[in-house]
């Protein structure tokens, strides 16, 4: 699939932008703070309804944007996406929140339209599939477990609408269950009939968690098939990468959603007194992690910087591979200033793997000399300057 038209209005530093993009490799270059990353951010936002930068949605609205007819200012992001299953028009309005009197409030609200019909934000996810590469991807390997769960969740959410909804439901149930446990722990309530009061939350959390686990375990098998050999190619070594799903409770040999839910349910019961003492839910997909090993060595812990960078790259490329295989259509790759971080060998590998005629790849860079002449002749180039985009 590829982003055919992109429209921005009052988004970040863009007052107005309308650009037609072709499939293939597209390179955006220009000085810092020109708006290169914001282009990728807009596309990532349309795909996931989230910004990759951890920021408040209201900051997406251009700082001095003015509202119309008393309504607070808003940013508009829209794209026409060509896909194997047919074209679709995606649109998000992000409006700064204000009270009835027009006084600004914190936060922002989103209005989503798919093919001009109003839709929920959750229905947008998966319409356009993207894989984002950033210099921060290294945290996938050396960062906190949250990063690795986020990697799986973003990948699976784009592939499976049921996964997105189940994940949202799971997180809501988890908050409720944790609040219940915390009220007992903090002695705001007498812990009477604990099992009865937890029964509903245990059952529902286990059911939702079972589905998430089943999908994650299935994805790990497929990711291993792709990432294993990719790592060998990228690192130039003999041994493939192995990704292991480290669950927070004993899953035994369970692989389908139903039996995984049973496992979770048993784990909740077994952990009852610990959970009451700690005031939180101690096992489930929200506590799981990934372990990366090569030839039996845990490289997340003991790997060199170079090895860890190779793993991060292999994971991202495998994510694209999984989407291509399962989604039946190549995702749009977004490479935000990643080449400057890589050595010449990694760089060459990445560009070779990324260059596919059936795939749209958008890259940003401040320095054209990061690219070899051959690549530059194949890529379409755009110069980005102060919130404007010029061909050439």
């Amino acid at each position: 699939m590829f982003v055919h038209h992109l429209f921005l209005r009052d988004f970040r530093n863009y007052r107005r932008l309308e650009i037609t993009l072709a499939p293939g490799t597209i390179l955006f270059y220009g000085p810092n703070a020109a708006g290169k990353t914001s282009l990728l951010e807009a596309i990532f936002y349309l795909a996931t309804t989230r910004s990759p930068r951890l920021s408040n949605d209201r900051e997406l609205v251009r700082w001095d944007a003015v509202g119309e007819a008393g309504a607070p200012p808003f940013a508009r992001i829209a794209a026409e996406v060509e896909r194997r299953i047919g074209a679709v028009r995606l649109e998000v309005l992000v409006q700064r929140r204000a009270d009835d009197d027009g006084q600004p409030l914190n936060g922002a609200q989103k209005l989503v339209r798919i093919d001009k019909r109003p839709a929920r934000a959750i229905d947008l996810i998966g319409q356009l599939r993207v894989v984002l590469f950033t210099p921060a991807d290294l945290t996938l390997v050396d960062g906190a477990p949250t990063e690795r769960r986020r990697y799986l969740d973003i990948t699976l959410s784009q592939l499976d609408a049921h996964y997105v909804r189940t994940l949202a439901h799971y997180q809501k149930l988890l908050l409720q269950r944790n609040s219940l446990l915390r009220a007992w722990r903090e002695q705001r309530r007498v812990p009477r009939n604990v099992d009865t009061e937890l029964a509903y939350w245990d059952q529902e959390l286990a059911a939702a968690g079972g589905y998430l686990l089943a999908e994650r375990l299935r994805a790990i098998v497929e990711l291993n098939d792709v990432a294993g050999p990719l790592y060998r190619a990228i690192s130039g070594g003999e041994n493939p990468l192995h990704i292991e799903y480290a669950a927070s409770c004993d899953l035994g040999s369970a692989r389908d959603a139903g039996s995984l839910a049973e496992r979770l349910h048993l784990a909740f019961a077994a952990l009852r007194s610990d959970e009451l003492a700690r005031g939180q839910t101690l096992c489930g997909p929200h506590r799981d992690d990934l372990i990366f090993t090569v030839a039996g060595i845990n490289l997340g812990r003991y790997g060199s910087r170079g090895q860890q960078r190779s793993i991060a790259l292999a994971l991202k490329l495998a994510e694209a591979g999984l989407m291509r295989q399962r989604g039946g259509d190549a995702p749009v790759l977004l490479l935000d200033d990643v080449l400057s971080e890589l050595d010449a060998q990694h760089r060459a590998h990445l560009l070779e793997l990324v260059y596919r005629p059936d795939q749209q790849t958008l890259l940003t860079t401040t320095d054209l000399s990061d690219f070899n002449a051959d690549f530059l002749t194949k890529a379409q180039r755009y110069r980005v300057e102060d919130g404007r985009v010029f061909p050439g």
């Binding site: 009835d100 027009g102 909804r165 219940l180 009061e197 029964a199 509903y200 939350w201 529902e204």
Partner: protein
């Protein structure tokens, strides 16, 4: 010494603005607008508003039996002998009673819980009128309890707890069906609703 602008407003006016601004959906500007409107209005109008507010707080209470809002001990529904005394419909809020009454499809009694289970908001079993419901079922000729809590997580959690409490009492417990809205369009239904409509399909 010059007075600060807020000190220029007469204290009773400032107090009324402050009170209005505490109401949901009313910001400082609307609060001032309402206050200055009343300031210029006939004294009769201000009196009527003040009296209406006081009456609501003084005269309206909960029905002793079903906890619906009412004037007096029992609500009109509980007082109506033509209502089916063997059925009780359990709802979260008084507004839900109105919604069901508008259908004209139900002639039984009600029981208002005044909320749903939501630990996140600090609402637990003991904050709802659940024990009161169980007492009613033991003392009244009730044969069927219809659980009409909302079809969301909190409503389901409430229904789940109620079912556990009701099971030993030997009454029939039913839950409202979930499905498609009348006059709706399949294409526009969200997947969850369509999914539960499928699960709840029936023989024709």
């Amino acid at each position: 010494m010059t007075a600060r602008p807020e000190q220029l407003i007469a204290p009773p006016v400032a107090r009324l603005i402050e009170e209005f601004a505490k109401l949901p959906g009313i910001g400082p500007k609307t609060a001032s607008r309402l206050t200055f409107f009343l300031l210029r209005a006939e004294p009769k109008q201000a009196q009527a508003l003040a009296q209406a507010i006081l009456d609501v707080k003084e005269q309206v209470g909960y029905c002793r039996r079903c906890f619906n809002i009412t004037v007096g001990e029992l609500c009109p529904i509980c007082l109506d002998p033509s209502r089916d005394q063997t059925k009780v419909c359990v709802v979260e809020e008084p507004l839900d009673v109105l919604a069901i009454e508008r259908t004209g499809a139900y002639r039984g009694l009600y029981h208002v819980l005044h909320g749903h289970i939501a630990p996140l908001e600090g609402i637990y079993r003991e904050d709802l009128k659940i024990d009161e419901l169980l007492t009613r079922i033991r003392s009244e000729p009730i044969q069927e309890v219809i659980l009409a809590t909302n079809p969301n997580t909190e409503g389901e959690a409430t229904a789940f707890l109620l079912l556990r409490d009701l099971a030993p009492l030997g009454v029939r417990v039913t839950r409202l069906a979930r499905g498609l809205p009348t006059g709706g369009d399949l294409e526009w239904a969200d997947p969850e609703t369509l999914g539960s409509a499928f699960e709840g399909r029936r023989e024709l």
